[in-house]
Point group: none
Chain length 211, copies 4
DNA sequence: AATGAATGAGCATTCATTCAT
DNA sequence: CATGAATGAATGCTCATTCAT
């Protein structure tokens, strides 16, 4: 599911090296993109930041947009990895979901600048790569959707089938919201407070009261 | 509330002319920004699109970022105007809110590209202007917050005071979500379905079940 | 016939200025192209040579290839202009042709570097512009073709119709040859000697001996 | 006469290997140069096309210009080889020349893209190598010059000594013209027609009518 | 002898902004 | 007030060549 679908060609043959150098590039670029945005970051800056010469960097990518794609891919990988490592050895489906949500909100807090970056720069990708990134974004939704489906199947949740996906979207968005509205939310709530309130709301939605 | 807080100096004295020309600029720019984004739009294109010469345009702004600020300001004006014109001659606070939410979702649908633009380009503003734009964004939240407060005061809603603002944020975000996740949501829901489900969820939140 | 078919768009509105500046560009570029060839000349060098800033130069052209096109166009204009100003107030068609040939060879000598440039760089043009340049090249052939036709019509020349165009091509090429084989020819012949011999040969061809 | 005048140093000692690899390089490069020109072909492309690594290729050349020189040398070798293999077991000098001319025109047709390449890219050679290439070009002229001299000596041809070399040049150029003016000539003549007309013209020149 | 990763000077081109008219 | 020609620093990207392995 988190398959590394590398669509970007490289001039370099040694695949191990390609992986390694691209990791370097991504790590340098992500810092800069967060700090000043994709458009205001120059390829020269990226090269300097990741310790490669401009020429060498271009042996591993084809265009500046490729760097953005690699960065988005990397962020989604981080996110999906953390998501899938969520511990779920709980007894009831309800408990498991609540715990997952809490952990998800925690992740959103940790990756706050990354989440904002994805939100703001995905649109700068060439359409082909944008599609791939959006597909990965949907994977996150799918993660929660499947969790919900399991709860429905064992009778724990009462969400009508037509609402399952929307509920998953709501979960995802209310989590990301902590990142992209942080400028406002932080003035009133701590992560803990925010998490408690939103999880509580989502649990109501999931238990199907009045739906 | 929708006070035109003009922070942008102009070379031109005649204030009526300044208003008029800036409206021209905004209307041209917004089309282009939606189509190709702020960074990929050139000042020349903006001038051409709004029927001014590049020189004349610069008599009314100081930098390209000013245009972005004017555009953001304009979008928020549109939004706030529509929001404040929401009809509210209903009997109960509950009914009034439900109707407002429905109308708000309708507005989000109409202004979809504008909402997305605000989401993606606000970060390109100089920090001073970004603050002003975010303040206007909070005004939208405030609109719903006040509506909730009225409902609480007359006993219709049971939201703990500490959650009022968050609920307002939730309303705003679940509305904007129809715009910025439209690429995924449109595959499953019509605006009507989306509105019904989300309004229903928000009404539960507001009526304070298990909170 | 020497119609200035300007196909190259410019950012500048004032057409007189466009003409003037392009003339500047062409005059600078032609010197450099002759000296070092099209590919080894940089746009910065062209700008410097013609006294424009690089930015200003690009207001009058769209690409480096455009400069090459303008240069080719200019050279053909020079050539065609000189060709059409060939005096031809002679009595017989035969005399007129001989004189024209002599003057044509004289022109080829004067424009030697230009002729070589056209020969070597036309292929670097985008195909659309190459076609236009080749069409102008054919105009030169046409010039002699028409002269031959007139001589045939009044009975002075005995060239079969199917050979008229080839004869015109031969005239043109034997003239250009003085330019592009000059490195070898100059070792043995002066322009005068070369002209006499080739004109004499061409006159035989035209008088149709054994054809 | 077709002596391989190797002026290009190599890192490799084994001369047989040097010959072999350079042949590989030339065969790859000539295809690319014809297709897209010398300047628009990259060394990487040449290496790929000839099946060598870029590093290996550079063991056998010193610069990209060296490849161009090798290519020019190769083309001249092809040309001179074909030229010298022209069958000449005819009786009279006149017949022999006519046959040679016909076969030469045939060769020019076969090698059309090569001839054009030489015409357009020789100027890109460093002057030292350009001289060598031009010397080989003169060898072609010399081939015909010698044929003419033999005809003069046995009384078959009546060309004044001062015109022999020019006549040889004319032969060479009228042959090459079929290649470099093919874009125009092909519209009116087949190779056969072209050959007949030009050979006929050249035979007049050689038989010295009115000279 | 072969390889291919690394280099960075250099290139064509863009574009926000200015300012003389 | 309006115009649009002029500017040049800055940008993304290329590619011939080298050299450690």
């Amino acid at each position: 599911m988190i398959k590394k679908q590398e669509v970007i060609p490289s001039m370099i043959k040694n695949q191990r090296l390609v992986q390694e150098r691209r990791q370097q590039i991504v790590e340098g670029a992500v810092r800069l993109f967060i700090e000043k945005g994709f458009h205001k970051t120059t390829t020269r800056e990226i090269a300097r930041e990741c310790g490669l010469s401009i020429g060498t960097m271009y042996e591993y990518i084809q265009s500046k947009e490729d760097v953005l794609y690699l960065v988005c891919h990397y962020i989604h990988s981080l996110l999906l990895e953390k998501l899938h490592s969520i511990s779920s050895h709980h007894l009831t489906a309800k408990e498991m979901l609540a715990s997952s949500l809490t952990q998800y909100f925690q992740i959103m807090d940790e990756l706050r600048p990354y989440v904002v970056l994805i939100y703001q720069e995905t649109k700068s990708l060439p359409s082909e790569q944008m599609k791939l990134v959006l597909a990965r974004e949907e994977e996150i939704t799918l993660f929660f959707e499947q969790m919900l489906v399991r709860g429905i199947e064992d009778g724990s949740f009462q969400i009508p089938p037509s609402s399952v996906r929307l509920t998953a979207h709501n979960i995802v968005v209310l989590g990301q919201m902590w990142a992209f509205r942080h400028w406002a939310l932080r003035k009133m709530y701590t992560l803990k407070e925010y998490t408690e309130k939103q999880v509580s709301l989502l649990m109501i939605e999931i238990q199907g009261v009045r739906r």
